[in-house]
């Protein structure tokens, strides 16, 4: 009976692993037939533009996210106030479930051509759309870590030793959350690299200005599927490399 149960558990685990890994492997297998094209694609001006906009905007978004979630996590971890649970939900869980296309639409209406501040179809629009969709990943990790530190009482001990808010934050909470901040940066970056719907609606896909890798894949998937495939391989490789690099750095830091 016990062995049969183990078999079921291992079978279910195997199913999940195969399901999640197949798509990645299939991408590389599919690209394998036209491997030369991946190299050529990297020299394509439009692809280079999309690569530049994707990497630069995702890096900027990840940096902004880390900078923004530190004070927000501190306030939410150390203060109790009415409506705190709702604010946490709106900052962390809701943006992860809110359809990105709807996010793009909201920003287009709020900050688009009909608003006094027209930011649509600009690089700033790319940043705003990606930030909303991606920053909650950093927020979730850093806030959880700050709450753990708070529960351990170490911030209170720092206070008894005369530390002010700046010292508590910069001398205790941030250094104790290094791995989580790095994880937050990496996951935000990877999510921002993959974001498409919100960015496409709010920022459009203007080559060398707002066209990002996923938009390029989407827009060329019918007209030039080989180009879309090659671009997908490059995007997937970058994301996998970033995540593996994070795991290596985080492991070395422990």
């Amino acid at each position: 009976m016990r062995d049969r149960f183990s078999l079921v558990i291992f079978g279910l685990a195997g199913f999940l692993i195969v399901f999640m890994v197949t798509s990645v492997f299939y991408l590389y297998i599919a690209a394998g037939r036209t491997w030369d094209l991946v190299g050529q694609t990297l020299l394509d001006q439009r692809v280079l533009g999309a690569l530049f906009i994707s990497v630069s905007s995702s890096t900027l978004v990840a940096l902004l996210a880390v900078a923004a979630v530190i004070p927000a996590s501190y306030v939410l971890a150390t203060r109790d106030f009415r409506g705190k649970g709702l604010i946490e939900t709106l900052l962390v869980e809701f943006p992860q479930t809110f359809p990105p296309a709807a996010v793009g639409l909201v920003y287009l209406l709020m900050l688009g051509p009909t608003s006094p501040v027209n930011l649509a179809y600009s690089f700033i629009a790319v940043i705003i759309a990606k930030f909303y969709v991606s920053a909650p990943f950093a927020m979730s990790l850093v806030m959880r870590r700050f709450k753990e530190i708070r529960a351990s009482g170490l911030d209170t001990i720092a206070r008894t030793l005369g530390a002010d808010t700046r010292q508590v934050l910069l001398w205790v909470m941030v250094p104790m959350s290094k791995t989580d901040l790095l994880a937050g940066f990496t996951l935000t970056w990877a999510r921002a690299m993959g974001e498409v719907a919100a960015t496409l609606i709010f920022a459009g896909a203007i080559p060398w200005r707002t066209e990002i890798f996923p938009s390029l894949v989407y827009l060329t998937s019918i007209s030039s599927p080989q180009l879309a495939l090659a671009a997908s391989v490059i995007a997937a490789t970058l994301s996998i490399a970033a995540l593996l690099a994070f795991k290596w750095v985080a492991g070395a830091g422990r």
Partner: protein, 237 residues
């Protein structure tokens, strides 16, 4: 001087009264043990003294200066929690120097003062170790050094012997008492074990259900208990 006076402190958590009209006077350089079972309010009293818990009413004074509205960081009370609360990302030197750095003490003075304390505490040679590389006894001495180096007006100790094994307890108790006496600091120490209270305290305040039942020297508490619960708590294990 540093005489601590607590007057009529009360604290409610909802319907539950954690502190019920608590008054206590601790003389300068005295080692006062607050002893009582779990839930007696002794930890709440310590946190109220520290400024982390805000009492509903009552007064806290050190040398006739009101402390009720002084924030935690400005009270200059040394505090050692039950788990010692060392910063895991800092080494021994950085942990001990923390309270001096926050106050902007010059680096040379920090070096000198840490050196003095470390020598007194027998922590030489451990300056670059992180807390996880220390034994329980060493961690306690680092935490005590960190609390004492700021020259606190009052030292607050929360169950300092709870993480010490029975084999080394007598030695740690003796060393703790010696160190505190050496620094001559007014101390309030929360404990639940009567034998620890007897070994450490100049006087003992027996606390039960949020109230201090009696305060006095151990002999007085045994000879003239003002409540049968005092005798029961002093003889319980």
């Amino acid at each position: 001087m540093n005489r601590l006076r607590v007057e009529n402190l009360t604290k409610f958590y909802g319907d539950w009264q954690a502190l019920d009209d608590v008054s206590l006077e601790v003389k300068a350089s005295e080692f006062m043990v607050v002893m009582g079972p779990s839930g007696s309010g002794k930890s709440t009293l310590l946190l109220a003294l520290l400024g982390v818990v805000k009492p509903d009413s009552g007064r806290i004074q050190v040398d006739n200066i009101q402390y009720d509205h002084i924030p935690v960081g400005e009270r200059n009370f040394g505090y050692m929690p039950q788990d010692y609360g060392l910063f895991p990302h800092l080494n021994v030197f950085e942990n001990i120097a923390f309270g001096l750095r926050t106050k902007g003490v010059a680096p040379q003075d920090i070096d000198n003062r840490v050196e003095q304390v470390v020598t007194k505490m027998g922590l030489g040679g451990l300056m670059h170790r992180r807390p996880h590389e220390l034994s329980g006894g060493q961690r306690q001495r680092v935490a005590l050094s960190r609390a004492l180096i700021i020259r606190p007006s009052v030292l607050l100790l929360d169950e300092p012997l709870s993480n010490v094994d029975e084999m080394t307890k007598a030695e740690v108790r003796r060393s703790l008492k010696d160190i505190v006496k050496q620094f001559g600091v007014t101390t309030v120490c929360v404990l639940h074990e009567p034998s620890d209270a007897a070994a450490l305290g100049d006087r003992i305040a027996v606390m039960y259900q949020g109230r201090i039942l009696q305060t006095g020297r151990l002999e007085d508490l045994f000879e003239n208990p003002q409540d049968p619960i005092v005798t029961r708590l002093l003889t319980s294990h």
